[in-house]
C-alpha cells in the first residue's frame, strides 16, 4: 500500500482539471476561429444591414432622380465613423460620392459592400450602391474578446485551485478513516470519528462501526467453532489414515501398507498365501461365510506370528494374505515358515450349518526384497500351476526352464503334425436311463516318439501361442468327421472361442460337414467360460450350425461365471456339467445343490444334461439320482482310439 499511494482526491481534481482544460482549450480555439469569423461576419453584416436599409431609399431617390435627397442621405451616412465612403451609380455613372476624412487620408483595413439598386418593387436594375466600411470595429472587438478570454482563463484557473483544495478537504476524513482501518483486527475495536457527521463520511463511519461490531461478535463465535472443528478433523484424519493402510475386515495392514513397508525396507522377504477356490466358498455359501473364513484365517495367522516381531502380517486382497519379514531370515527358516503356514491353515476346519469346511492354500515366496511383491506373485502362480503347496521364486531357473519346455513342445507338435501323430480319441457318453451310448466325445491326443499318449492340456496353451493351434483343430475336425462318416452315432468336437471367431475354421467345418455328410450327427462343445466376450460371434456360429442340423453343447458348465441368461439365448441342446462339480458329487452337498439347480433349469429349457468326470459308482448313483440325462467318465468308459461300436 505504501509503495504507490494514489490519492483519489488528487485524481478527481486532476481529471476534472484535465478535462476542463481540454474543454477550455477546445472551446477557446474553436471560439477563436469561429468568433473571429463571426465577428468579421458581424461587421460585414452590419455594413450589409446599413446598405440594405438605405438601399430602398437610395433606389427610390435614384429612380425618382432626387439628387439632393441622395446627397442628404449620403452625408448623414458618412457621419457613422465606420463608413468610409459612399458611392451611388446610376446606369454605370457615378451620380454621388462622399468620402470620410479618414478615408481621404488613406486607410487600409476596410471592406467594400456593393449592392445593386432596383426600381422600387421590381427587378429592374437601375444602378449600384457602393459602401466602404472600416473594419476598425472588428479589430477593437477582437482585442476586447482576447482580453476577456484571458481573464476567463485566469478566473477558471483560480477556481480550479480552490476547487481542488476543497475536494482535498472534503475527502480528508476518508484518509483518516483509512489510517484507522489499517490497524483493524476483528478482536479489537476502533473508535471511528465523524460518526455524528450528517454526510457521506458520517454514513461510512457509521457503517464501519456497525460492521466492526458485527465482526467482533462473529469472530468470537468463529474461534469456538474452529477449535471444535480442529479436534474433529484430527480424529477423522486418524481414522482415514488407518483405513488407508488397514483392512477393515481383519484389522490387518493392507496392500498399500505392504507396498510402503517393502519400499522402505533394505532387505527382507515375503510370503503370499492364497486360498484356493475361495471364490467358490463365497459363491456357494455366501459372502458372510467367506468373510468369516477369512477372519478366522487372519486370527490364526495373528496367533501364529504374534510372538515374532520380525514378521508383519497383511491382507492383500479377498483371499490373499502376506507375511513380510522385516529382516531377511535364513532361507531354511523361510522355507520352514512357509511349510508351517500351509500345514496349519489347511488343518483348520470351519463350520457352517453343521457342515465342515476346509481350505487349500498355495503359498508363493521370495527371499529377495527387490520387486518382492511381484516375485512372490509369480511364485504363487507357479505353485498353483505346478499344483504345489508352495513355491519360492527363483528367477533364473524358472524362466529358462519354461522357455526350454515351450521349445520342446513346439518341436514335438510340429513333428506330430508332420507324422500324423495327432489323433482323436473317443470317449462314450451314456444315457442314464437306457444305459446305451448316446454319443462320443472326440478328444485330441498326441502320440509321442515313445508312443505315449499325451493329453492336450499339456500342449494346447503352447500350440495357441505358436500358431499351430488352427492346424490341430482342422486335424481334429477332419479326422472326427471322416471317422463318423459311416457310423450312425452322435459325436462331439470341442471348439474354443478362437475357433469360432476364425472364419477359415468355420468355413473348414462347413466343408467337412458337407463332405462327410455328418451335420445331423455332430455336436459342438463350446466352453461356457469363454463365451462371454465373443458372445455375438458365438451366437452367430450356433445359429449357423443349427441351421445345418448340428447340435450344440456347453462344456464345463459351472466352472466359470455360469450365466443362465446367456444359455437361454444361445439356444443350446446340451449342458455338460463341469468336472469340478461332479468329482465330489457323492460327498459334497454344496455341489449337489448346484448340480440340482442346473439340472432343474436345463429341464425347464428342454436342454439335456451331461455329467462329466464320473469316476466311481457312488458318483454315478448320485448323477442318476439328480436326474442328469447322460454320463461321461472313466467309470463307464475311458477315451479310446476307436469307438466301442467299432469294437463291437
Amino acid at each position: 500500500m505504501k509503495k504507490n499511494f494514489n490519492s483519489l482526491s488528487t485524481k478527481i481534481v486532476v481529471s476534472i482539471a484535465a478535462v476542463s482544460l481540454f474543454i477550455i482549450l477546445v472551446i477557446f480555439s474553436v471560439f477563436e476561429n469561429i468568433n473571429k469569423k463571426a465577428f468579421l461576419n458581424v461587421e460585414i453584416e452590419k455594413a450589409n444591414l446599413i446598405a440594405k436599409t438605405i438601399k430602398p431609399l437610395i433606389a427610390l431617390n435614384v429612380y425618382l432622380d432626387m439628387q439632393n435627397k441622395i446627397n442628404q442621405i449620403a452625408h448623414q451616412l458618412i457621419k457613422n465613423p465606420n463608413i468610409l465612403s459612399i458611392k451611388v451609380l446610376k446606369n454605370g455613372e457615378i451620380i454621388n460620392e462622399v468620402k470620410s476624412n479618414e478615408y481621404k487620408n488613406g486607410i487600409k483595413d476596410a471592406f467594400i459592400i456593393k449592392k445593386d439598386i432596383y426600381k422600387p418593387n421590381s427587378k429592374i436594375n437601375i444602378g449600384q450602391l457602393i459602401l466602404v466600411y472600416s473594419d476598425k470595429g472588428y479589430r477593437e472587438l477582437m482585442e476586447k474578446y482576447t482580453k476577456v478570454m484571458f481573464i476567463l482563463l485566469f478566473v477558471l484557473s483560480v477556481i480550479f485551485i480552490l476547487f481542488s483544495l476543497y475536494v482535498k478537504k472534503l475527502l480528508s476524513p476518508l484518509r483518516k478513516i483509512a489510517r484507522l482501518l489499517k490497524n483493524y483486527s476483528p478482536n479489537q475495536k476502533i473508535k471511528f470519528p465523524f460518526i455524528l457527521k450528517n454526510n457521506e463520511i458520517g454514513l461510512i463511519s457509521n457503517a464501519l462501526n456497525n460492521m466492526q461490531e458485527k465482526n467482533f461478535q462473529y469472530s468470537k463465535k468463529q474461534q469456538n467453532i474452529n477449535n471444535l472443528l480442529e479436534k474433529k478433523v484430527n480424529e477423522k484424519t486418524m481414522e482415514l489414515r488407518k483405513q488407508l493402510y488397514a483392512d477393515t475386515l481383519t484389522d490387518m495392514p493392507n496392500r498399500l501398507s505392504l507396498f510402503n513397508d517393502i519400499e522402505s525396507a533394505d532387505n527382507g522377504a515375503l510370503l503370499i498365501i492364497n486360498i484356493d477356490d475361495f471364490k467358490e466358498i463365497n459363491d456357494f455359501f455366501g459372502h458372510e461365510i467367506g468373510d468369516n473364513v477369512l477372519k478366522k484365517i487372519s486370527d490364526r495367522l495373528k496367533n501364529m506370528f504374534s510372538a515374532d516381531k520380525n514378521i508383519k502380517l497383511y491382507r492383500l486382497s479377498g483371499d490373499e494374505f502376506a507375511l513380510f519379514f522385516i529382516e531377511k531370515p535364513s532361507f531354511d527358516y523361510f522355507i520352514k515358515i512357509a511349510k508351517k503356514l500351509v500345514y496349519y491353515i489347511e488343518k483348520m476346519i470351519f463350520y457352517h450349518e453343521n457342515n465342515e469346511l476346509g481350505v487349500i492354500v498355495s503359498v508363493g515366496g521370495t527371499h529377495q526384497i527387490q520387486k518382492a511383491l511381484q516375485k512372490a506373485d509369480i511364485a504363487l502362480k507357479s505353485a498353483k500351476k505346478q499344483q504345489k503347496s508352495f513355491f519360492i521364486y527363483d528367477e533364473k531357473l524358472n524362466i529358462e526352464e519354461q522357455y526350454k519346455e515351450n521349445m520342446d513342445w513346439v518341436n514335438k507338435l510340429k513333428k506330430a503334425i508332420n507324422q500324423d501323430k495327432i489323433i482323436p480319441y473317443f470317449q462314450p457318453i451314456f444315457n442314464n436311463k437306457s444305459g446305451e451310448i448316446t454319443s462320443y466325445e472326440c478328444l485330441m491326443r498326441l502320440i509321442d516318439d515313445n508312443d505315449d499318449v499325451i493329453s492336450p492340456y499339456k500342449f494346447l496353451p503352447i500350440a495357441k501361442k505358436s500358431r499351430l493351434y488352427d492346424k490341430l483343430t482342422e486335424i481334429m475336425i477332419e479326422k472326427s468327421c471322416s471317422h463318423f462318416e459311416h457310423i450312425n452315432h452322435y459325436f462331439s468336437i470341442n471348439l474354443s472361442t478362437e475357433d469360432i471367431v476364425n472364419p477359415s475354421i468355420v468355413e473348414y467345418i462347413k466343408q467337412k460337414l458337407k463332405k462327410y455328410n455328418v451335420a445331423e450327427k455332430i455336436i459342438f462343445e463350446i466352453l461356457e467360460s469363454e463365451g462371454i466376450d465373443s458372445y455375438k460371434n458365438v451366437s452367430y456360429f450356433i445359429n449357423e450350425m443349427k441351421e445345418l442340423g448340428c447340435k450344440i453343447a456347453i462344456d464345463d458348465f459351472g466352472s466359470g461365471y455360469s450365466n443362465f441368461e446367456h444359455l437361454i439365448q444361445l439356444n443350446v441342446d446340451y449342458i455338460k456339467i463341469d468336472a469340478s462339480l461332479i468329482k465330489n458329487l457323492d460327498t459334497d452337498s454344496n455341489a449337489q445343490i448346484v448340480v440340482q439347480t442346473i439340472v432343474d433349469f436345463a429341464k425347464k429349457l428342454n436342454i439335456l444334461t451331461v455329467a462329466e468326470f464320473v469316476h466311481n459308482e457312488e458318483i454315478l448313483i448320485k448323477v442318476k439320482e439328480l436326474n442328469i440325462d447322460s454320463t461321461q467318465g472313466f467309470y463307464l468308459g475311458e477315451p479310446l482310439k476307436c469307438t466301442i461300436h467299432h469294437l463291437d
Binding site: I50, T53, L57
Partner: protein
C-alpha cells in the same frame, strides 16, 4: 454582446432613415392592414381571380337577377364550355367541356363550401332549381380545381355562395322575393340576418312550384324496351316535369365556430319514366337533401386551422307507374299496368382538418385530410306483382332489391399544397391528393399551376392536374336491373388536364380571356343496352379553347360573351374504334348585354347558341340540332323604397330546344322549355 451590436445598428439605421413618428407608423400599418383585408375579400369573392392560379368563371347573383336568370341551372348555362344534359328521370347535369355526359358525378356542387352531390346519382339536379335571388355568387371552376378541399372534382366544380357570406365592414340586407311566370311558376322566399359582435345568424327560405309539362314521345316502348310484342303500347304525350320544393338554410357563426345546415325537400314529376314508359302526371320522384356541418376556423400567427365535420342525408324516392296497361312480359299480363315505389336513403359522414401555414417567406403550405363514410341506410323496393301481373304493390325489398341495401364506402384523402410566390409577377401552386377508398383507389394525384403576371394588364396561366371520379352508387350497387348492372370492381375514372390561359385586363372592369385545354380521360365508365354492366372501357381525349370578353361599348352598358370550341375523340375498348365525341356541341356561344336606360331602368338580353351534337356510336338518328335562344329582361330599381321589379321573356323566338335522348329510349330528344315569361319582385331592407 451581439444583441447590443444589433441594437446599435438598428438605432443607427433608423437614424439615417427619415424619422418616422409613431403616428406615421400607425398610418402605414393601418394602410397595409386595409390592403390585406381587401385582398382577402377579393380572393374569397374571386374578385381577383384573373391573378389566381385557377381558371374560374364568376357570376354575381345581382348581375344574374338583372339578366332575368331564374335559377342556378340557367346561370350555369352562361359559363364557357358548359352545356346541359338530361336523362329519363330528368336529372339534369351540366356538361363541362364535353366530359362524359352519360355519367353523373363529373362535376361537384358546393353550397357555401359544402358538397351537396347526392350519393345515389352523384348528381345535384335537385339543387339546379336553386333560385338566383338566394345566390350571392356562383363560381365555376372548369377542370379539376383546387386540391385543398380534398374533393376531387373531375370536370368542374360549382361553388354557390349564398348571402350568408359576410365580411367585416360590409353590410348585409334582408330581403323578400316573389316570382311568378309560365307553367304556373310561383316562388316566394326571404333571407334574414341577425348580427352581433360575436354571433351571426343567417336564414334563407324559399318555396317554389310549377306544373311544367312538355311534349315527349313516343316513349321507350316504341324502341322495344319491353320487347317487340309491347311496341304497340308505346305512347306519346306530355312528360310531367313539374316541380315542387322548399328549402331552409341556416348559417350560424359564433366567434371562430360555425354551423351550416340546410334541408331541401325537392319533388319533381317522373319525367320520362324510370322504365322509359311515359308516366302519369302525378307520378313523382323525391330527391330530398339535408346537411349539417360544424366547423372551426382559427388564425393563430402564421397558422390557419380549418376543422369541419358534417353529416348529409339524401335519398332517391320514386313513386310512379312504370309500365302501361296490358303490358305483356313473358306471358304475364299487367292489365292495369305496373307501379313501383323505389326508395334508397344515403347518409354521408365526413370530417376534415386542414392547416395552412404561411410562416415561410413566399410560401403558403396547406396540408390536411378528409375522411368520408357514405352508406345506404334504408332501401325498399315495391312493385306490382311480377308473377301475376296484379297491380297491387308487392314488397320486393328482400327478394328483388333494386339496390344493394348494404352499400357502403369509406374514403380517406390526404392533401398537401404549397402556394409559392416566387416574385411579384410569378407564382406557383403545386401539391397533391392521396386518396384511398374501400374499393379501388385513385391514389396519388398531383397538381401544378403557374401564374405569370407580365404587368397589370397581361397575365398568363398554365395548369396541369390529375383527378378522378369515383364510381357512383348507381354504377356500383344497382341490382336486378336489365338496363344497369352495378359492380364494385370499377376503377375510378381518371383525367389529366392541361390548360393554358391568357388574360388581358383592359381596364378595372373589362378583360379578354382565352384558354386552351387538353383533357385525357382514361377508364371512363360506360354501359349500353347491349352490355348493361358498367365497365371502365372508354378513353376520351378532349381539347378545345374558350374565349371570353367582358367590357362595355359605351359608359352606359355592359357586354359579356364567351365562345368555346370543344372536340375530341372517344375510344371504346370493345368496339375498338375512335368516335367523335357523342352528345357534345362543338360550338357554344353565350353572351349577355346590359343597357342602363337610366339610373333605375335597365334593358338586358341573354343569347345562347348551342351547336349541333353527334350521336352515340351506333345511333343512326340525325345529329342533335343546334339552337339559339334569346332572352330579354327589363329591370326597374326603385332607389327610394329599395325594391326591384323585373320582367323577363325567355326563348323569345320560341326555338325548339332539345337535349339528346340515348338510343333505344325515347325516339325524339328530350324537349325543353319554349317561350316563357316571368315577373319578379324583390324588396330589400
Amino acid at each position: 454582446m451581439l444583441n447590443k451590436l444589433f441594437n446599435t445598428t438598428l438605432l443607427f439605421s433608423s437614424l439615417i432613415c427619415v424619422v418616422l413618428n409613431a403616428q406615421t407608423e400607425n398610418l402605414l400599418t393601418s394602410i397595409s392592414n386595409e390592403m390585406e383585408h381587401f385582398n382577402e375579400v377579393a380572393t374569397t369573392t374571386k374578385q381577383n381571380e384573373h391573378y389566381q392560379p385557377y381558371i374560374i368563371s364568376v357570376f354575381e347573383g345581382k348581375e344574374l337577377e338583372k339578366l332575368g336568370i331564374l335559377n342556378l341551372k340557367e346561370a350555369l348555362t352562361l359559363v364557357p364550355g358548359v352545356d346541359m344534359a338530361t336523362d329519363n328521370a330528368n336529372t339534369q347535369t351540366p356538361i363541362f367541356r364535353g366530359s362524359n355526359p352519360l355519367a353523373s358525378g363529373q362535376s361537384k356542387l358546393f353550397i357555401d363550401g359544402i358538397l351537396v352531390n347526392n350519393v345515389f346519382f352523384d348528381a345535384y339536379s335537385e339543387y339546379l332549381s336553386f333560385p338566383v335571388e338566394m345566390i350571392k355568387r356562383v363560381e365555376v371552376v372548369r377542370g379539376p380545381g383546387s386540391k385543398v378541399d380534398g374533393i376531387n372534382a373531375y370536370a368542374g366544380s360549382i361553388n354557390v355562395i349564398t348571402y350568408a357570406e359576410d365580411f367585416k365592414g360590409f353590410e348585409s340586407n334582408d330581403k323578400i322575393v316573389f316570382k311568378y311566370g309560365s307553367y304556373n311558376y310561383k316562388m316566394g322566399g326571404f333571407i334574414k340576418t341577425y348580427k352581433t359582435d360575436n354571433l351571426k345568424i343567417f336564414i334563407d327560405f324559399y318555396y317554389q312550384k310549377d306544373d311544367k309539362k312538355l311534349p315527349a314521345g313516343p316513349d321507350g316502348l316504341s324502341q322495344g324496351v319491353f320487347g317487340a310484342n309491347n311496341i304497340s303500347l308505346s305512347k306519346s304525350g306530355d312528360a310531367p316535369l313539374w316541380l315542387k320544393e322548399y328549402s331552409i338554410g341556416l348559417n350560424l357563426t359564433y366567434k371562430d365556430f360555425f354551423l351550416k345546415a340546410r334541408t331541401l325537400e325537392h319533388t319533381q314529376g317522373s319525367a320520362y319514366g324510370i322504365n322509359l314508359a311515359l308516366p302519369q302526371d302525378s307520378d313523382r320522384m323525391k330527391l330530398p337533401s339535408q346537411y349539417l356541418e360544424l366547423g372551426y376556423n382559427k388564425k393563430i400567427n402564421n397558422f390557419k386551422i380549418d376543422i369541419k365535420a358534417g353529416i348529409k342525408y339524401d335519398a332517391f324516392n320514386s313513386k310512379s307507374k312504370l309500365i302501361p296497361n296490358d303490358l305483356n312480359i313473358s306471358g304475364v299480363i299487367f292489365q292495369d299496368g305496373g307501379y313501383g315505389e323505389h326508395f334508397a336513403a344515403q347518409r354521408t359522414i365526413y370530417q376534415s382538418s386542414y392547416l395552412k401555414y404561411s410562416g415561410i417567406a413566399q410560401h403558403t403550405i396547406t396540408a390536411g385530410y378528409r375522411f368520408i363514410k357514405e352508406q345506404t341506410i334504408d332501401m325498399s323496393s315495391k312493385l306490382s306483382n311480377r308473377l301475376t301481373g296484379d297491380v297491387a304493390l308487392v314488397d320486393y325489398t328482400d327478394t328483388l332489391a333494386f339496390f344493394n341495401k348494404d352499400a357502403k364506402r369509406y374514403t380517406y384523402i390526404f392533401s398537401l399544397q404549397d402556394e409559392f410566390q416566387l416574385s411579384r409577377t410569378v407564382s406557383f401552386i403545386y401539391g397533391f391528393n392521396y386518396e384511398q377508398t374501400s374499393y379501388k383507389d385513385a391514389g396519388f394525384e398531383p397538381k401544378m399551376s403557374m401564374v405569370y403576371q407580365v404587368d397589370a394588364q397581361n397575365i398568363f396561366k398554365a395548369i396541369y392536374s390529375r383527378s378522378h371520379r369515383n364510381s357512383s352508387w348507381q354504377e356500383m350497387f344497382t341490382m336486378n336491373n336489365l338496363a344497369r348492372v352495378g359492380t364494385t370492381s370499377l376503377n375510378p375514372e381518371k383525367v389529366d388536364t392541361i390548360e393554358f390561359a391568357y388574360i388581358k385586363k383592359i381596364s378595372s372592369d373589362s378583360y379578354l380571356q382565352s384558354n386552351i385545354f387538353y383533357l385525357l380521360n382514361k377508364d371512363q365508365i360506360y354501359n349500353s343496352s347491349a352490355d348493361p354492366k358498367y365497365r371502365n372501357v372508354v378513353d376520351t381525349d378532349i381539347y378545345g379553347f374558350e374565349f371570353e370578353y367582358k367590357g362595355y361599348i359605351s359608359s352606359a352598358d355592359q357586354l359579356y360573351f364567351n365562345y368555346s370550341y370543344t372536340t375530341g375523340k372517344s375510344y371504346i375498348a370493345d368496339e375498338n374504334k375512335n368516335k367523335s365525341l357523342p352528345n357534345i356541341a362543338n360550338h357554344l356561344l353565350k353572351g349577355y348585354y346590359i343597357y342602363n336606360l337610366n339610373t333605375s331602368l335597365s334593358l338586358n338580353g341573354v343569347a345562347k347558341y348551342v351547336g349541333s351534337k353527334d350521336r352515340v356510336s351506333g345511333d343512326t338518328r340525325e345529329k342533335v340540332k343546334d339552337y339559339l335562344t334569346i332572352d330579354s329582361s327589363l329591370q326597374y330599381k326603385n332607389q327610394k323604397y329599395n325594391y326591384t321589379l323585373s320582367l323577363s321573356i325567355k326563348n323569345m323566338f320560341d326555338t325548339k330546344v332539345t337535349f339528346p335522348s340515348p338510343p333505344n329510349t325515347y325516339v325524339q330528344d328530350y324537349e325543353q322549355e319554349r317561350r316563357s315569361f316571368y315577373i319578379a319582385f324583390k324588396k330589400e331592407f
